[in-house]
Amino acid sequence: MHDMMIPFGPAHPALPEPVYLKIFLEGEEIQDVDFAVGYNHKGIEKALQDLDFSKSIFMTGRICGICSSAHSTCFTQGIEKLLDLEIPYKAKLIRTIVFELERLTSHLLCVGMLGHEIGFDTLFMLCFREREYVLNCLELITGKRVVHDINTIGGVRRDLSPEIIKQVNKNLGILKEKVEYLRTLITKDLLIKKRTVGIGKLDKNDVEKLCLVGPVARASGVPYDIRKIDKYLAYDDLDFKVITHKDGDSFARAFVRVQEMFECIRLSKQALSMIKPGPIRNKPTLPFTEKEAISRVEAPRGELIYYLRSNTTNKPERVKIRTPTYANLLCLGKILVGHKLADVPVSLASLDPCLCCTDRVTVVKDGKEQIIKMEDLHGHH
């Protein structure tokens, strides 16, 4: 019999897939966790069946604001598989550059949110300040800061001029020093270590049993990275490492993300140096036939997989999407049970999902209800 049940969620600024949790407590220790999703469900898979392929690329870009180009690249790659269409090498490089820069913004955001949950608001502000360098690069390349609609069937929509390449290289050079400072901060600061080391441990068996993906899997020692496995876009010709860590706790997940930021900067610089004049788009040969295809990419949070099915018209017959946060929801029970209530925001932020800490606590004791605000549990507002 639990003497407290906390409703947690569902809305939070800035992270995908709001989730509603019910946490069952006995004193301060968590006994059980139940979750409900559906607060972000709009019916996109059905709505995509009513639009042409070329228009549905814009809708898939708006499934998630942070992994926008991951979704649109995966979808466009699937359409190109249905049509057996090969895209020019320059288009592959431009897609890779936008993808990696977006991964950089996502990891900076996650580390910032982790700082905010601990109470270290200066880390939050620092991460968001460094993000502005990357968003400036993205605005130069694609024209928009957050939701970039750069993909089209057969290639990309915008070209890179030598001035843009020079400015982006300069920004990435400045950013590298700032990320070095962040790494020193995270590894040397005693407070961050006290709040994250040993919290929310996941070992290799859990990862393989529950089919977890992304930095969560890599922080427990499983080197599952679709960029090295499938070698899609231009990743076959680029040199980078798959970062893993053996501990599997919240600190390991944050550390893997910080190390991956260096790999993103390296990949973007390599790709920028390989850009040569050439075409950016190949025209597709219509019409579509009845075919099925699977497309996978490594989004910032993990493996993103699409199943596409076409008929003889130019509208998709069926689109099925499985996002990485959805796959990682299964480990919520494992990382929260057995810890104290104050460790819940830290574990959830290290998973990098979308959760809100503005909900209320309902304490039911002896049949009487009492409302406590989540901020009082944070203790730093």
Partner: protein, 131 residues
């Protein structure tokens, strides 16, 4: 690959591509096919997709071994609309099966926690992705 030879005895290959193979197996033999996959050492399932083609519901299980994809299709008749769970061999399919049952109205026999996931509690119309 040894698994492909074993699966060819149960069903047949209808498509092959670079690093992927697509099987179609009879409705009654799906549990044997999944058991073969699990015994061969594969423990990762990435996706379960469903499609209503008018007469039946096509359910495809997508298993992953590093860069190789094994896709197993089974046709579920619409009158019964039920299929056995695979969460005993693949615990990672828990949420994927729930989504299949909600969006396409397929009952999963033996699922540890059936119930609505995405749609509101008072949603009474037919499943959204049925024709």
């Amino acid at each position: 690959m040894k698994l492909i030879e074993e699966l060819k005895k149960i069903g047949k290959v209808y498509k092959e591509g670079k690093n992927e193979v697509w099987f179609i197996v009879p409705y009654k033999k799906i549990k044997d096919a999944v058991k073969d996959v699990s015994n061969s050492g594969i423990n990762r399932i990435s996706l379960i997709s469903g499609y209503d083609n008018g007469k039946e519901i096509e359910v495809i299980y997508h298993f992953v071994k590093e860069n190789f994809l094994i896709n197993i299709k089974v046709l579920v008749p619409k009158e019964s609309s039920e299929i056995q769970t695979i969460t005993d061999m693949f615990p990672g399919a828990f949420l994927l099966e729930k989504e299949l049952s909600e969006m396409l109205g397929v009952k999963i026999i033996g699922h540890p926690k059936p119930g609505k996931l995405f749609l509101p509690e008072d949603y009474r119309e037919k499943p959204p992705l049925r024709k």
